[in-house]
Subunit: 214 residues, 2 copies
């Protein structure tokens, strides 16, 4: 009841929670996102109700799990975005950081973005649809803030920055997802191609064959 005791208990609970999260991480990374609560509990050496006491429901556990990876990724992206270099270099560094992250830990990435990847039957996997969006949204909003803070876009800059933030994040995400699956080129080439796209090479390219408006 007194404060010190409460603190002790709280600490112990926090440690337990961390242990449970680490166990969940192992299972999810091994079995994919359709890992059952039973399996996670077993990995942690305890039984289901304890998991539910700590995380409420499966969504809660997933959210806690996702937050760890999400925060880590966002931290490294912020670092790349804040590096002292010119704009194109920073953009390329940020793209490369993101791609390096998903390349280094594809299981984590697939867990965050592609929930029911390995599922085939019952499929009560995590409903990541609900939770992967937040990651993309957070990245979009953060990028929008950076754009608005640092670029002079004239009137309507806030709205423009937000559109661009979400659009660029989506571009990075989709291209990265495709690249991770097919590996059609090196990471550096992908980064360069995307930066070229953002730098207007699409508009600047010439037409290939003659045609009316073409």
């Amino acid at each position: 009841m007194d404060t010190t005791q409460r603190t002790d208990q709280q600490r112990s609970a926090d440690r337990r929670r961390r242990e449970l999260l680490e166990a969940a991480d192992r299972v999810v990374l091994r079995d994919g996102p359709q890992a059952s609560m039973n399996a996670i509990a077993a990995e942690a050496g305890i039984t289901k109700p304890i998991l539910y006491r700590h995380f409420g429901d499966k969504g809660g556990l997933y959210a806690a799990l996702a937050k760890r990876h999400t925060d880590a990724l966002l931290d490294s992206l912020r670092a790349a975005l804040d590096a002292p270099a010119d704009r194109r270099e920073r953009v390329e560094a940020t793209l490369d950081t993101y791609l390096a992250a998903i390349e280094a830990r594809p299981q984590v990435y697939r867990f965050l973005m592609h929930p029911a990847e390995g599922s085939q039957v019952g499929d009560q996997g995590f409903d990541v649809g609900k939770h992967s969006a937040p990651l993309l949204r957070r990245m979009g909003e953060e990028l929008a803030q950076v754009i608005e803070d640092r670029l002079d876009l004239g009137p309507g800059s806030q709205q423009l920055a937000r559109v661009w933030g979400h659009g660029i994040v989506g571009m990075m995400h989709a291209a990265g997802d495709w690249w991770l699956g097919e590996r059609p080129c090196s990471r550096a080439e992908l980064v360069r191609s995307l930066a070229d796209l953002l730098w207007g090479r699409l508009a600047a390219a010439g037409d290939k064959v003659g045609g009316p408006g073409f």
Copy 2:
């Protein structure tokens, strides 16, 4: 055994299949993607095993359901992409077509892209993660083909076109998703902002405040 009879039966089966798909469509659009096979069967006025005989499993039914909407969307996108106009106009028309589609039928869109949106408990919803990707991939590949066919990109054009195809589709998708949720601006403004981004306005913008490399 004879051909006419087989044809009759096949026709009847196809009609039945269409009816079932329409019933499934109604249920999914009403109950969200976590609609149960039982509910779909009930809406169609039959029982589960018939559904399974027609579609194999839940994924099969979803795939058939998704294919209808996906094909329709891709058709209208192709039309916009092929319109006789200059490049920027075509890009804007395509973006606008996509956004108009998701704006007009947001339930369909959310079903295709955000599987477990309304789920809260058991959540054995469709695993759209597995099936939404194909839509984005198809759009990316088609766009890549168009880009490669019509633009003169110099050496490495095929790879560049594919990166751009998937990247642009991802940009459109993410921006559209965000826009559909928050409606921060009109559709036309969004289209214009995205086209501006593709036209290199990000690179062309000036810095806002003085700084070393900034």
